[in-house]
């Protein structure tokens, strides 16, 4: 049974059954755990609302006592171009997402709908790519980027992120489960391969594209290693490393300012989660089940 079916049955059950009170202890345990999971975020937000002079005061607060956006203003006024770095993060994450989705969907189309010599060899190569740790490729990449004059540019952050064997795997796996009749009919009617891909295959791939987009976008938004190595100038920096610079430039004195910056960095991820939690959860669940 796939997770989609499982969650459908779960939904049916919860709709028809009243709350099972024998599970109350379980709910309490899970509830306490959930509160502990959220405490760091609550502390982050509450601290960002404190005036700088009270930021370190104990006891720590987990709920803001009043709304005070001074710290947020201080982040925007900082000597580092915070908004610029925010924009950079968006550009890098969006470009990476579009590039990965388009290239992996095209490759998946070739693997699951077309027959050609070398198909299994090329697919096997991806397996090798899946195992490679980032640590192994960053050293040569650094010198390649330097030779191409791409260091200190957003390209140095976008291009390496486009190589994603995992995305091709995911897309192919999904396409294999889709019916081929429409594509075959279109082919008989004389449609070109590109038309078939663009007009028939791609529109069927909505759910996996949504899931893949979220995964690629968040991992690009969160990437720490690439900007740490490839970028020095804050004008082309992205947030994960930029935040480190911001905290160095403010020193330990302005905890509330740093927490305001962290809050702003986390916010898009929270929005993504609230909008698309079902897609994310189902796509991750499926990676463990499909074999």
């Amino acid at each position: 049974m796939s997770l989609a079916q499982a969650s459908v049955t779960a939904r049916v059950h919860s709709a028809t059954r009243v709350i099972d009170w024998r599970n109350l202890p379980v709910m309490i345990v899970l509830g306490i755990g959930a509160i502990f999971m959220l405490l760091p975020f609550l502390w982050m937000f509450a601290t960002s609302m404190r005036p700088a002079s009270e930021a370190y005061q104990l006891p720590p607060s987990f709920l803001p006592t009043r709304l005070n956006f001074d710290a947020y203003a201080a982040v925007l006024d900082s000597p580092l171009p915070f908004l610029r770095m925010y924009l950079n993060s968006f550009i890098v994450a969006a470009a990476t997402t579009i590039g990965v989705v388009v290239s992996s969907a095209m490759a998946a189309f070739a693997f699951s709908r077309l027959r050609f010599p070398g198909s299994s060899l090329l697919f096997g190569l991806l397996l090798v790519g899946l195992m490679v740790p980032h640590a192994l490729v960053v050293i040569p990449l650094f010198y390649g980027m330097a030779a191409a004059g791409l260091l200190d540019s957003l390209w140095s952050l976008i291009l390496p992120g486009l190589a994603s064997p995992l995305a091709i795997f995911m897309m192919r796996q999904f396409m294999e489960g889709q019916p081929r009749e429409y594509e075959e009919a279109a082919f008989i009617d004389g449609a070109s391969y590109w038309t078939i891909f663009w007009r028939i295959s791609l529109p069927q791939m909505g759910p996996p594209i949504a899931a893949l987009s979220i995964i690629v976008f968040t991992s690009s938004w969160n990437n720490f290693l690439l900007p740490l190595i490839f970028v020095r100038k804050f004008e082309v920096m992205t947030l994960p490393v930029g935040l480190l610079g911001l905290s160095d430039s403010f020193g330990a004195l302005s905890l509330s300012v740093i927490m305001a910056a962290v809050t702003m960095c986390v916010l898009p991820l929270l929005v993504v989660f609230l909008v698309a939690q079902r897609f994310i959860v189902e796509s991750i669940a499926s990676t463990g089940i499909k074999r």
Binding site: P165, F224, M259, I289
Partner: protein
């Protein structure tokens, strides 16, 4: 006039071209370059190269610092795997009950939100939570009348603190995978166990856990491979300290290649890491096949 067959082949290569061009440029070529680098001595200024054979590996494999970081990494993995998969399985078993929808939504949010958020961001939060004098955690420990803990400053505790952060961040990922596996156990199996008079605990131990064993194995492997590459959190929170007590293999590679400028030894240490990852993967595949063959 090309035949239909040739047209199909040509189209296929066209569709594969963008993905494989990227793959070639940003994964395959750098990988081969790393292989080459590991047997070269590179002058950091002129980038002039000289073949040195196994010398880089000799240097790395006899460097006590390398083995220290490897030991740290495995210590981290042992704790993180037990924490992530163990706690994840426990939570998944609990979530596998009939829990009302809105509550389930909240639990998902709480347990899964940290997975989405980069360690680069939350590390700042944890750095202050774990702070010795001003941290939230020591505040409550003092309130209980206990001596404060040097979460990040005591070299016997620092790695443990890193693991706490890692489990907090990643456990939700394993909860979701394991929960989906538990919900995939066929209902008729559970029904039969119930009719035969098995208690819920026996049914869990004798039916559900063996049924999802391959998925648990997948989780252990996944956590191990991820743990071998641990970098971001340690870099930001302790930067390998105090002493070298939290320095990981990837940090060793990073400082060799980018701080010391020793590209060859950096590549050699990264390759050693790849070999270890390959071995872990091979063990998983073999074990997995044994499970599947039963």
């Amino acid at each position: 006039m090309a035949t239909l067959r040739q047209r199909e082949t040509l189209a296929a290569y066209g569709f594969l071209a963008p993905a494989y061009l990227i793959y070639l440029l940003f994964l395959a070529i750098p990988m081969v370059a790393s292989l080459l680098l590991s047997v070269l001595e590179v002058d950091r200024l002129t980038l002039a190269t000289q073949f040195v054979g196994w010398a880089n590996f000799d240097w790395v494999l006899t460097d006590p610092r390398f083995w220290k970081t490897f030991g740290n990494t495995f210590y981290f993995i042992a704790l993180a795997v037990v924490g992530n998969v163990g706690l994840g399985l426990g939570l998944a078993v609990l979530l596998d009950r009939n829990i009302p929808g809105p509550l389930l939504y909240l639990f998902r949010l709480a347990y899964f939100l940290p997975v989405l958020v980069s360690l680069a961001f939350v590390s700042f939060i944890w750095r202050f939570m774990f702070s010795f004098d001003l941290g939230a955690i020591n505040y409550y420990i003092r309130m209980l009348g206990l001596p404060p803990v040097g979460w990040l400053t005591d070299k016997n505790v620092a790695m443990f603190s890193i693991v706490i952060i890692d489990v907090w961040k990643n456990v939700g990922f394993f909860v979701i995978i394991l929960l989906a596996a538990l919900q995939g156990v066929p209902r008729n199996l559970m029904e039969a166990a119930r009719i035969d008079g098995a208690s819920p605990f026996t049914a869990l131990r004798r039916i559900k856990l063996p049924y999802i064993a391959p998925v648990i194995l997948f989780c252990v492997t996944y956590a191990t491979i991820g743990g071998l590459q641990v970098f971001d959190s340690i870099k930001i929170i302790t930067d390998g300290g105090p002493g070298d007590s939290t320095r990981s293999v990837v940090m060793y590679m990073f400082s060799e290649a980018f701080s010391a400028g020793e590209l060859g030894t950096g590549a050699a240490s990264a390759l050693t890491l790849l070999v270890v990852i390959a071995i872990v993967t091979a063990i998983q595949l073999t074990l997995g096949r044994r499970f599947a063959g039963r």
